[in-house]
């Protein structure tokens, strides 16, 4: 068992302050809890993680729900989660079909999230407190892609911010791995994200371009 602490600013650009007011509704709480892998994992989300205080956006559970809200409702036609629509629509479907259990831990500061076997995804402090709300949706999609059977298959290119030559990159955009899914989601969020601000969409563009520039062994040859 580990114990961790974190200081959270109430008013900041992450989006939590506003999303919090929206997700504080039993209908959403029940839907997210039962859909995105929280169900059956109460013990992990207790003891300061927010299970008994799920509207409090200082705490991880509400911040995870905020990511789930962005994942679910950022397409203007969010009721359409067909795989023939853009990833902004079907990203939520892909997450719910691939993550069975979502559990939280302090972590050791070296990862945002990790995929384990059998549909289990672990999320760490950085997921809640260093990522903005759409960034958390991106992480859930990234990890879902691993659960969907696509491990990273290459080393990061020379000059990559993720570490030149280290493992953990995808070979190319066409490999359609976890980095591609995350970047694709951010691309669509930037271009057509609904119920958000131009600032958070710009943040998605910057993050998407960072991934495109640094996470593929062969640069895709375009940017957002």
């Amino acid at each position: 068992m580990a114990s961790c602490t974190y200081t959270v600013p109430d008013k900041a650009a992450s989006g939590d302050n506003f999303y919090g007011a929206v997700i504080c509704n039993q209908v959403y709480v029940d839907y997210f809890w039962n859909t995105y892998g929280f169900s059956g994992n109460k013990a992990y989300w207790d003891d300061g993680w927010g299970w008994d205080d799920c509207c409090n956006t200082s705490k991880p559970l509400a911040r995870a729900f905020n990511g789930c809200y962005a994942l679910t409702y950022s397409a203007s036609d969010y009721l359409n989660d067909s795989y023939s629509a853009p990833i902004l629509n079907w990203g939520r479907r892909y997450v719910r079909e691939n993550i069975d259990d979502l559990r939280c831990f302090c972590g050791d500061g070296t990862a945002i999230a990790r995929s384990k076997s059998g549909g289990l995804v672990e999320v760490y402090l950085g997921f809640f407190y260093s990522k903005d709300v759409p960034g958390r949706a991106e992480t859930l999609i990234h990890e879902s892609r691993h659960q969907g059977g696509k491990p990273h298959d290459a080393n990061f290119p020379s000059g990559s911010v993720f570490g030149s030559g280290k493992s953990g990159a995808d070979s190319s955009w066409d490999y359609e791995g976890a980095w591609m899914y995350g970047a694709l989601y951010l691309w669509w969020y930037y271009a057509t994200g609904a119920r958000t601000t131009s600032a958070l969409r710009e943040r998605a563009r910057q993050r998407g371009n960072l991934v495109i520039d640094n996470a593929f062994a062969t640069h895709p040859g375009f940017s957002i």
Binding site: M1, P9, S14, V22, Y190, N214
Partner: protein, 227 residues
């Protein structure tokens, strides 16, 4: 081994525990005694993260309130940027994004300083999905975006800084400067840029195009996820 689907049996000992402490906002405003201005800056940054059908309008309203102070507001924003702890990446980014939105020509000098500032060494070397260098780069590419908008507003100094940082040591910053200058620069700027890239043997940067998600084959996933 844990089952693939969890169950809600209470643990005898919880896996991890967390204690959170709340602060009103991340800023100190040590150099600004204008409480009204400080409050408007906090409000604008807070509304960056708005949600709902009126999120953008609320954000724009906050920005309009901020413009009443004129370019002098840049001094406060830049001072806050300098005062924030290095690891408050999202908060530092949000201040640079404010500069992007305000589009004051007086911002060129501080933007140049932000981009030129040395990027601290990676703090999470063992990670594959987080990078403090990456966070620093996003702050700087957002500063580049501010320069691109000023260049589009015909601020010549912004174009000079874009040209200078087209030789930045970090790939994403070079790529952003090259694209921005090609989109908003004069013919003379573009000529200088091509010459620079030729000297550096980096003409390949000109081939990386900004693409509209709606018409790009690479962005369409109409066949759905592949196995």
């Amino acid at each position: 081994m844990l089952p693939s689907k969890g169950f809600d049996t209470p643990f005898l000992e919880s896996p991890d525990t967390l204690e959170t402490q709340r602060t009103e906002h991340p800023f100190s405003f040590q150099t600004s005694k204008d409480k009204q201005l400080n409050a408007v800056i906090v409000d604008a940054i807070n509304r960056m993260g708005g949600v709902g059908d009126d999120a953008e309008e609320s954000y724009r309203h906050a920005l309009r309130s901020l413009t009443k102070w004129g370019p002098g507001v840049l001094d406060v924003i830049v001072a806050e940027y300098d005062d924030l702890p290095e690891d408050r990446y999202l908060d530092r980014w949000s201040l640079v994004q404010l500069i992007v939105e305000l589009r004051y020509p007086e911002a060129v000098k501080p933007l140049n300083r932000i981009i030129a500032a040395r990027i601290p060494a990676e703090k999470v070397k063992k990670s594959h999905d987080m990078s403090t260098v990456g966070e620093e780069v996003m702050i700087r590419t957002t500063a580049v975006e501010a320069l691109v908008r000023l260049s589009a507003d015909d601020v010549a100094e912004a174009r000079e800084v874009l040209l200078k940082h087209a030789a930045h040591r970090t790939f994403s910053i070079r790529r952003a400067c090259v694209q921005g200058l090609m989109q908003t620069g004069t013919d003379d700027d573009k000529r200088k840029l091509r010459r620079l890239l030729k000297e550096r043997k980096e003409e390949g940067l000109l081939k990386i195009k900004q693409v509209d998600v709606v018409c790009c084959p690479a962005s369409s996933k109409e066949r759905g996820p592949t196995p």
